[in-house]
């Protein structure tokens, strides 16, 4: 990603591989909106976003092979088991993951023994873990994570931290909107504070 500007805040930023951006700011300061602009769910009122030099609008659907976005809502279907959720979500994305890999990822996320339980029997925190397991099996380079620590207990927060660290070590970029601090030991950390 090379440049981004936002009308009512005047934001200009370029990120190199291995960067972690911590997006903070009081409620309603525009964290979610910024992330949604970055994954083209919203159009910026002005300015443009470039990925590897090209405007993301001109990249079309190809851009999405490089991006994973996790929003406020976990995107986990109640009727499907954790395993089905993971494999089908990836298959729809064009990445077919075999059952073994998928259940490996779920085990890493601390869901061992619950892979085949319909997601409606999982607690809120466990559902978020299913969503996070997608980060383990995907090979995208830009992660956009919105309030990813919501309703996670301490163990899970530690897991997310190490996930992001590995991602940065592989040269990925992660932009995370959060109210809680996340101290990373790898990569370059940038703090971006939005104000109302």
């Amino acid at each position: 990603m090379r440049g981004d500007r936002r009308l009512f805040r005047g934001l200009d930023l370029s990120l190199s591989p291995g960067t972690y951006v911590q997006l903070t700011g009081p409620n309603g300061s525009g964290k979610t909106s910024l992330l949604r602009i970055l994954c083209r769910l919203l159009e910026p009122a002005e300015g443009e976003i470039r990925w590897e030099g090209a405007n993301i609008r001109s990249l079309g659907e190809d851009y999405f092979t490089a991006v994973t976005y996790l929003g406020h809502r976990p995107g986990v279907k109640d009727e499907l088991s954790a395993l089905e959720n993971l494999t089908i979500a990836n298959a729809v994305n064009g990445v077919e993951v075999d059952t073994e890999n998928a259940s490996g990822a779920l085990q890493t996320m601390g869901l061992a023994g619950r892979e085949r339980l319909p997601a409606r029997f999982l607690s809120e925190g466990q559902r978020r873990r299913v969503a996070l397991a997608r980060l383990l099996v995907s090979n995208t380079r830009l992660w956009l994570l919105d309030e990813v620590l919501t309703s996670l207990d301490k163990r899970a927060v530690g897991l997310v931290r190490s996930l992001i660290e590995e991602h940065l070590n592989r040269g990925g970029i992660a932009i995370v909107a959060t109210h809680q601090e996340l101290e990373l030991s790898a990569g370059v950390t940038k703090r971006l504070e939005l104000t109302t």
Partner: protein, 241 residues
């Protein structure tokens, strides 16, 4: 209280298992006898020929459909009022059987109507109210199927069944009245012809068979429901342990 002990689903499960043959075997025997009497002993009707013999299935099925709805509502109500899980499960088990009998009476009625009235269906009062009864069963079953939590499903079903049972007589009479308002029915049901003795015998035997069959099948279904819920519960408990 011995009875109270058996009111727990886990305790009732084996008891139900033992009871099933005691109902299933007589049901099979009575069906065989009833059908034999109905189809071979009973005389041919002078008006309708042999078509009337469908009555031996149609009439018991129609009666069972109506009785079972009331029974279901009673069980569901008891289950709700006294928090008796077994009673609620019983209601769920009855619902499917009742719906099946109602459907059977509709289908046999239609097959009867074709040769006698020349049409599969007419908006006759009894037919219409049977159809609505089927809808009521469908609502109950659909509601329970849509709710994941079995306890909540039981109670929601109970509310619906009770509201339905209050409504059934109103519906029945309104439909009755509706049909006779517009026209003197072009075609009446058989009315009450003096039925020949073998006919009556066959009808009563078939009715008894249907009752026994209902008890047996409801018990089978009840066992499935108990098993399914226990499994779900133990699966969750296992995972949460």
């Amino acid at each position: 209280m011995k009875l109270y002990k058996y009111a727990s689903p886990a305790m009732f499960y084996p008891v139900a298992g033992k009871m099933i043959p005691w109902f299933a075997i007589p049901a099979a025997l009575l069906f065989a006898v009833g059908l034999y009497v109905g189809f071979f002993v009973a005389p041919t009707d002078f008006q309708q020929g042999d078509a009337y013999r469908i009555m031996f299935i149609h009439v018991p099925a129609a009666w069972m459909g109506m009785f079972l709805y009331v029974l279901m509502a009673i069980y569901a109500g008891i289950g709700w009022a006294f928090n008796a899980r077994l009673s609620s499960m019983m209601a769920s088990a009855i619902a499917v059987t009742g719906a099946m009998f109602t459907l059977l009476s509709l289908v046999t009625g239609a097959f009867w109507g074709k040769p006698t009235w020349g049409t599969w269906w007419a908006w006759d009062a009894r037919m219409t109210s049977t159809l609505i009864l089927l809808f009521l069963y469908a609502g109950f079953i659909a509601l329970q199927a849509a709710i994941d939590d079995p306890r909540r499903a039981d109670r929601a079903g109970a509310v619906l069944a009770i509201v339905g049972v209050i409504n059934v007589p109103i519906i029945y009479f309104s439909v009755q009245w509706w049909n006779t308002l517009h026209q003197g029915a072009t075609i009446r049901l058989l009315g009450k012809p003096s039925i020949a003795a073998p006919m009556l015998t066959a009808l009563l035997i078939m009715l008894a068979a249907c009752w026994l069959y209902s008890v047996a099948i409801v018990l089978v279904r009840l066992r499935c429901i108990i098993l399914e819920r226990e499994q779900n519960a133990s699966r969750l408990a296992e995972v949460n342990a």
